[in-house]
Amino acid sequence: MSNIIEEKKIIKKAAAGSADAFEQLLLKYQTPIYNLCLRMTGNPEDAADMTQEAFLKAWRSLSSFQFESSFSTWLYRLTTNTCLDYLRSLKRRPQCSLTVEDDEGEEQVLDVTDEAPTPEEALLSAEERSQLVHALSQLEASQRQIITLRVVNDLSYAEIAEILDVKEGTVKSRLARARDNLRKKLLQIGNKSELPASNR
């Protein structure tokens, strides 16, 4: 509770123009916001750009923050909208593929995970990881958004409902649909990757 009060004070200071106060907010939220952007955009460079864009927007419009929602909800909403705007703009331009050719000329999924694996990750194969990331990147932006908010950012249905401005029941059904599509995409990718092996 005291943390919430403390954060409110910091937010008010930042809204009054204190860059130092805003820096505290930035340092607290940059990792979840970056991860949200990373899953939404699919690559680290765009994720960094979107993170920067989102925080700059937050800085410029913080004085309009009414404390009607939590600051994190407000920031996540601003960030997802920033990412969706960016992704919409990409549709109007040629897109680069998330696949690359390896030394043998075969198409490989570009692994956008940019971190050394944690012990938990090490238990899962690199192939599984890249397939999952690739499958996620192939979902519609709105489905990527809701899965990321729930699974990566670990937000509750209530928070997601507030960010997306929908009812909690809608969050539940959309999440089910998104997970189902993710599973189907994974199956497609898995079948593709298994085909050459079965032909051998």
Partner: protein, 382 residues
């Protein structure tokens, strides 16, 4: 229950979002369906894999963002801040008065109105400036524009295309009674000041606390901007200056329309003296100085501010407690009487808080705003 109907419950199960009934139905189905058990395991694995892939942002990302933000921060908002509690009123008053004296600001005698002094300062400076010097002439002209703006003297020809009352506080004063004495009457047209500047308005006798021959005081820079409302003004014929209030943006109370500023923006430091009955001074108002030319939608975003003078924006911030703060802003002079009256008035009732930009080294050239904050429950807000 069929397998193709079970997926929403599997997803809900992962998030702990199923109702008791849903969860019971799911568990009954899972007991008998190996396929769905495997599917659930797979979904749990996917979630775990996604959740475990937290990436760290680039190490220089925060620095990059803050660098950009600090570049934007160059537009001054709050500078240093003194919070003067009522318990320390005497000490604070002494300190501020020392600051005033240090700033080489004259202290008019009790019976001399500050507005007279302002007029005198303008006239005296005009006399000291060579009218053949275009720069000096322009300086006088600009000073008068600024003075007219700050003192809200009636000038129906005031050149701004702003319509709302709040806007009128910025450039065109509402049609109020002009200052009553000749000495207090601002020059009607800037050009008239320039042309007539060799014949200064006769200074009031009681404003001689400052020797006008002192070159150090009459530098070719704007004089101290004085006075709209003197807290202890005794001349009852003086029409109170308009108070510009704005209680925040609502549907019923739209923000002032943005206009095209045509007058010179306020330049130089602005000293803000806050009067408030709440100790929570920080965050009561957003206070930003923008040159008028940059007051575009990009800079201001969707948040319009009460525009006080040219280029100065003030607006109350929303409060957590549902109450609504409103601001009443006047310019004032920093003289001994005003300050002591303010401190006396605030003793035991108000807090006084003085904001001044870090750049202030002297109160000379300083625009002084007195901001009175009142807080009222939202349901009683007009």
């Amino acid at each position: 229950m069929k397998c193709n109907q079970i997926f929403p419950l599997l997803s809900g199960h992962l998030d702990g979002a199923n109702s008791e009934i849903e969860e019971r139905r799911l568990q009954q189905h899972l007991k008998t369906c190996r396929h769905c058990r495997e599917l659930l395991a797979r979904l749990e694995e996917n979630d775990a894999l996604l959740a475990s892939q937290e990436a760290q942002p680039p190490v220089d990302l925060a620095a990059r963002i803050m660098s950009q933000i600090r570049r934007e921060e160059k537009k001054p908002r709050f500078g240093k801040r003194f919070l003067i509690s009522t318990a320390a009123t005497g000490l604070a008053a002494a300190a501020l008065l020392a600051f005033v004296v240090w700033g080489n600001v004259s202290l008019p005698k009790t019976d001399g109105s500050a507005m007279e002094k302002a007029s005198y300062d303008l006239a005296a400076e005009a006399a000291c400036n060579d009218v053949s010097d275009p720069a000096a002439t322009n300086a006088v002209s600009e000073n008068t524009v600024l003075s007219d703006t700050l003192t809200s003297a009636s000038d129906p020809s005031g050149g701004a295309d702003l319509n709302t009352p709040a806007d009128s506080g910025q450039l065109n004063a509402p049609e109020t009674e002009p200052a009553p004495t000749q000495a207090m009457q601002p020059t009607e047209k800037n050009s008239a000041v320039a042309a007539d500047s060799s014949e200064p308005t006769e200074p009031a006798e009681d404003t001689t606390a400052v020797d006008p021959t002192q070159d150090t005081y009459f530098e070719p820079s704007p004089p101290p901007l004085a006075y709209l409302q003197n807290g202890n003004a005794t001349d009852e014929t003086v029409e109170p200056p308009p108070m510009y209030t704005y209680s925040g943006q609502t549907d019923e109370n739209p923000p002032p329309k943005r206009g095209t500023a045509k007058q010179k923006p306020v330049e130089g430091p602005v000293l803000v003296i806050w009067k408030t009955d709440t100790a929570e001074i920080a965050g009561l108002a957003d206070f930003t100085l923008f040159p008028a030319e940059t007051a575009s939608a990009d800079v201001l975003g969707d948040n319009l501010y009460t525009r006080m003078n040219n280029g100065l924006f003030l607006r109350p911030l929303p409060r957590d407690d549902g109450q609504e703060a409103s601001l009443a802003v006047t310019t004032c002079t920093v003289d001994y009487e005003t300050l002591t009256a303010l401190f006396d008035e605030c003793a035991g009732t108000y807090e006084l808080c003085v904001y001044y930009p870090a750049s202030i080294k002297s109160l000379e050239n300083c625009t002084v705003l007195l901001v009175e904050v009142s807080v009222k429950p939202a349901d009683k807000a007009e």
